[in-house]
Symmetry: C2
Subunit: 263 residues, 2 copies
């Protein structure tokens, strides 16, 4: 009934993974046993796929396909049924909730290699939207649920990510409830600086990154207005805590100095 995994992993009509990815992990042993799509994927190491052996990866890959979306694409809607799960391979996904009158709050940000989706619930409690251009590894709902039932280690790994997300949500509740606008913006920059660019995790002091969110997104994340976010960014720049070369290009020369602004 099913053809070779590779055919499905690159499912018809979906743009192929870029060539450079093919070359990245040549050093891996038994690469030939690992589905092509998985070879460059962070989830295989730090994400949920890290608990799977190559045979299990192959089995899972029969239910996966690469999906690329550009910034702004709605991936799941609040209150709507979810037909598939996904792993974030590249980019940032924002999870939002809205009040009837349109006030919006970002309640979570998912980076590679985070798992995306609410297990064991008929429909999504949040709206998921691509904050930047993203690559997702889509997993069919039934396929993953079957695999979870068979593989306790996988369930455990997902439990651990869920607990981590809960910790992060609670950390953010402190920021939303008790910090000033200045501290909120500093906290946001610190979060991004420490979550993005996971390759360079040495003790290097300075970090440059491209903000994956617009000012409006940042405001929705922090419970502020666009104007206040802009003003606080200007203030941090004036005080040399950050440099802003282009609107989305932020440079943090001293991460520790930024952390001190987080309250």
């Amino acid at each position: 009934m099913r053809t070779l995994f590779a055919t499905l992993a690159f499912g018809a009509g979906v743009s192929d993974i870029h060539d450079s990815a093919m070359d990245t992990n040549r050093k891996d042993i038994h690469n030939s046993d690992i589905p092509v799509l998985c070879r460059s994927c962070e989830a295989r190491h730090k994400g949920m796929c890290g608990v799977l052996d190559s045979a299990e990866l192959v089995a899972l890959s029969r239910h996966t396909r690469l999906a690329r979306h550009s910034a702004g694409k709605e991936l799941a809607a609040e209150g709507m049924p979810v037909e598939s799960y996904a792993n974030v391979m590249r980019g940032v996904v924002k999870l939002t909730k809205v009040l009837e009158d349109g006030r919006q709050q970002i309640v979570g940000l998912q980076f590679a290699p985070d798992f995306l989706g609410r297990l064991f619930a008929p429909d999504s409690a949040v709206t998921a939207e691509a904050a930047s251009d993203v690559d997702l590894c889509r997993l069919s709902k039934s396929g993953l649920e079957r695999l979870i039932a068979e593989n306790p280690k996988l369930e455990r790994r997902l439990m651990e990510q869920t607990l981590r997300e809960l910790d992060e949500a609670r950390e953010w509740m402190v920021t939303l409830g008790r910090k000033t606008a200045a501290e909120k913006v500093a906290s946001f920059l610190y979060l991004i600086a420490t979550h993005l660019d996971p390759s360079a995790d040495s003790e290097q002091k300075g970090r440059k990154f491209i903000l994956p969110l617009t000012r409006g997104d940042v405001a929705d994340f922090l419970g502020l207005t666009i104007e206040t976010v802009s003003r606080q960014l200007s203030r941090l720049r004036a005080e040399k805590v950050i440099a802003i070369s282009a609107v989305t290009q932020v440079d943090v020369p001293d991460l520790e100095r930024l952390r001190k602004r987080c309250g």
Copy 2:
């Protein structure tokens, strides 16, 4: 080495469960197989123990003991190792986080029959404190972790509670980030009215309850000051949305009318 479970369930030095509890569940079949401490416990139905059969309950009860604490008692400290888990049997436990300068935020409230504790982490990310007088069913760390490893259904149940807590935390992030003081206080009262008193869940419109939190706690939960909470409560009372007979005694004549104030 171990004596009968009943002896340990009522471990020496711990005050006994009150007599009335003994009579509550006479109608249960095979009550004689169920540990005495479990007979009146909500966790056995809606909580994590709902997935255990009576033999498993007995096995678990060898690692449990009833612990009573009065309001204000610190049950776990942020950043400190946790030596045991617990189920809330009665009362309310608040989970808090603090900033260096003392600003405090409540990041979660646990009601019966919630599970208490952070699995798979060496130490607690939050401070847990009895908000009201509470009864806990303490579970030894190693005992529960062994049981989880053996019982996939139990892990699943705990996963489901964790996911529910994550949903609740995200719901609360909207309240903290985007609601006005008036909406925050209304939302808090609505939360309490719908979470407390789980027995009377009929479509009755009116609800009376004793606030398990002080004004200071409410303020810490909502990211407000005591004064603002007090003013908003006075306003709701003046507008007949609630009645306050004593400081902790709240009466919500029309739950739907309260819900409309939540934004």
